[in-house]
C-alpha cells in the first residue's frame, strides 16, 4: 500500500515538526520522534518519512533518487511534492553511508545572498546516534548558535566524506545547507549551517 492511512496530517505533523524544530534550534541534541506505524518502502527509513510528511507539500521539491524509485513514489504520493533534479531540489533524502551523496551535496542549491533561506535541506539516514562513545562511528564536536559551550555527538553509519562535503559548501555564511540526521531508533539530530563541526576521532 503506497498511500499512508494511519498518519494524522494535523496532529502527527505538528508533533513531529516540534521535534524537528527543537533539534534544529539545539544542534547536537538528540530527540526521539513520537512513533507512528508508517510503512515506507525499503529504501526510505521511517523517521525520514516522518520528516517528509511533516514538511513537504506541493510548494516544494525533493530529490530521493539514491533511495530508489519506490521512495520517490512514496514521497510524491503522500506529500504531493515534486521530484526534482539535484540542482533544483529543496529537500534531499539520502543514506548517510552512501559516499555518492557527496556529489549531491556539491550540486545542491545554497540560496542567494539576498535570499539565503532557499538553500537546500538534507535528511541523512544513519544507523545510530548517541551521546556516549560506545556507539561506533564518527565523533562530532559541535559549536555555534544553539549550543551553550560545545556538544559531542556520535554518529554511526555516516561517511566522513559527507561531513567534509557539507563543510566545504557551508563556508560562505549565510549561504549554505542545513542537515538533519535520523537514526534507526527514530531519533533526530540537526546541524544547521551555523554549526561548526569537527570530526575528532579520525
Amino acid at each position: 500500500m503506497l498511500r499512508e492511512t494511519v498518519y494524522n496530517e494535523i496532529f502527527d505533523s505538528q508533533r513531529h515538526f516540534r521535534t524537528i524544530l527543537d533539534s534544529m534550534s539545539r544542534p547536537g541534541k538528540l530527540n526521539r520522534f513520537a512513533p507512528i506505524p508508517l510503512t515506507p518502502p525499503a529504501g526510505l527509513a521511517k523517521p525520514a518519512a516522518y520528516v517528509g510528511l511533516a514538511l513537504l507539500n506541493a510548494d516544494v521539491s525533493f530529490h530521493a533518487e539514491l533511495l530508489g524509485p519506490e521512495a520517490v513514489a512514496y514521497l510524491r504520493v503522500n506529500t504531493h511534492a515534486q521530484a526534482a533534479a539535484p540542482g533544483l531540489a529543496d529537500f534531499f533524502f539520502v543514506r548517510g553511508s552512501d559516499g555518492g551523496a557527496a556529489a549531491l551535496i556539491a550540486e545542491a542549491k545554497l540560496g542567494l545572498p539576498a535570499y539565503p533561506e532557499t538553500g537546500a535541506t538534507f535528511v541523512f539516514q544513519v544507523s545510530r546516534l548517541g551521546k556516549s562513545s560506545n556507539i561506533g562511528g564518527l565523533q562530532l564536536e559541535l559549536t555555534g548558535p544553539g549550543i551553550e559551550t560545545r556538544e559531542i555527538i556520535f554518529v554511526e553509519g555516516l561517511n566522513p566524506d559527507l561531513i567534509t562535503a557539507i563543510k566545504t559548501r557551508n563556508v560562505e555564511f549565510p549561504l549554505g545547507l542545513d542537515a538533519m540526521f535520523v537514526s534507526e531508533d527514530e531519533s533526530i539530530m540537526c546541524l544547521p549551517r551555523t554549526t561548526r563541526v569537527l570530526v575528532t576521532n579520525l
Partner: protein, 295 residues
C-alpha cells in the same frame, strides 16, 4: 456511521490550513538556521487586521499542539485588550490550556516585552513585530535593505547612531534597539524596552519574531550571541529606575510603568503583571539583570 471528528468542527485545528502551516514551519526552520535573517513568508489572512498581531498568531498557530500551555501578554500584562482577544481566539481554535503563569507556559506570545522571569529550554516565545526591518529608518526601499543585509553593509546604521549621539548626547533609540545576532545580521528585537534586550543573548529558550503585515519572520535560537549596537566609548544602557519600588508589590529591579495620579503625584508599578503577582506573594522568580557600564 461516519466517526471522522475532523468534519464536526467549523475550522481546522489552529485556524490556518495545513498546507500553509507547513510553509510557515519550513520558514521557521530556515529562520532558526540563519539567526537574525528575515525570512519572507505567506502571512495568510486572519480574522484580525494585519498589524494587530497576525504575525504572532501565524507563528503561534503553526507551532501549537493540543498539549501546549499557552500564555499571551501585551506590554507585560495578561489582561490588556490585545492579549485577551488573541487568547480567546487561540483558545477557541485549539482548545489548548491557557495560563497566566510564565513558568507553566510552554508557548508564550508577547507584544513588546520579554517576561522578567528566566525562560527555560522547554519554552518558545513568539514576539509580535510591527516593523521587522531595522534599516528601514535609514533606507526606504526593501530591495536595497535586502542587499545591505546580504553584504553586511551596515554603515548607514552606524552613522545614524552616531548622528543621534552628536545631536542629543545619547543614542536615543528606546524600544526596538538594534542588535547584531551571532556576529552577522543586524536585527530589530521588536519594540521591547532596552531593559529586555540583554536577556535575548545566550538565553535557554527559542525566540521567534513574526511580522504579519510585513510578511517576515526571524528567529534567535537559544544560546546565541545578541549584542546591542554600541561604540567603544558610548555603551548600551538599559533604563535606570534607580531606587524606585513598585507601589503594588514593594519590589524593585524590574521594568516599571509610570502611573500619574494627580497633577503633582505619580507612582510606579511593575510592568510584567505575572512577575508582580509572584513578587507580591513572596516568591520572586529568578531573573537575569543587566548592570549598566560606567561609560
Amino acid at each position: 456511521m461516519i466517526t471522522e471528528s475532523k468534519f464536526q468542527q467549523t475550522y481546522n485545528f489552529g485556524f490556518i490550513d495545513e498546507s500553509t502551516k507547513k510553509e510557515i514551519r519550513r520558514k521557521l526552520l530556515k529562520a532558526v538556521a540563519i539567526p537574525g535573517y528575515q525570512v519572507p513568508y505567506s502571512s495568510p489572512e486572519m480574522p484580525i487586521a494585519r498589524g494587530w498581531g497576525t504575525g504572532g498568531l501565524h507563528a503561534t498557530l503553526s507551532l501549537i499542539g493540543p498539549e501546549d500551555i499557552f500564555k499571551i501578554i501585551d506590554q507585560g500584562s495578561d489582561a490588556s485588550v490585545n492579549a485577551c482577544n488573541l487568547r480567546d481566539f487561540v483558545k477557541r481554535m485549539t482548545n489548548c490550556r491557557t495560563t497566566f503563569d510564565t513558568a507553566e507556559a510552554t508557548l508564550i506570545q508577547t507584544r513588546h516585552r520579554k517576561p522578567e522571569e528566566i525562560l527555560t529550554d522547554k519554552q518558545i516565545i513568539v514576539f509580535q513585530v510591527p516593523q521587522p526591518e531595522p534599516l528601514r529608518s535609514v533606507e526606504r526601499y526593501e530591495f536595497k535593505t535586502r542587499l545591505m543585509h546580504a553584504e553586511a553593509d551596515y554603515a548607514k546604521m552606524w552613522v545614524s547612531l552616531y548622528e543621534s549621539y552628536v545631536k542629543f548626547g545619547a543614542i536615543m533609540q528606546g524600544a526596538g534597539y538594534p542588535v547584531r545576532v551571532n556576529g552577522r545580521y543586524i536585527m530589530t528585537p521588536s519594540p521591547i524596552p532596552r531593559w529586555d534586550v540583554p536577556n535575548l543573548s545566550m538565553a535557554p529558550c527559542l525566540h521567534v519574531f513574526s511580522a504579519g503585515r510585513e510578511k517576515r519572520l526571524h528567529c534567535v535560537p537559544p544560546f546565541t550571541k545578541v549584542e546591542p549596537l554600541e561604540f567603544e566609548d558610548v555603551k548600551f544602557h538599559v533604563e535606570d529606575f534607580g531606587a524606585i519600588t513598585c507601589a503594588a508589590s514593594g519590589g524593585d529591579k524590574a521594568f516599571m510603568d509610570e502611573i500619574y495620579e494627580s497633577e503633582t503625584s505619580r507612582k510606579f508599578v511593575m510592568n510584567d503583571s505575572n512577575f508582580m503577582d509572584k513578587v507580591r506573594s513572596g516568591t520572586r522568580p529568578p531573573q537575569r539583570l543587566f548592570t549598566n557600564p560606567t561609560v
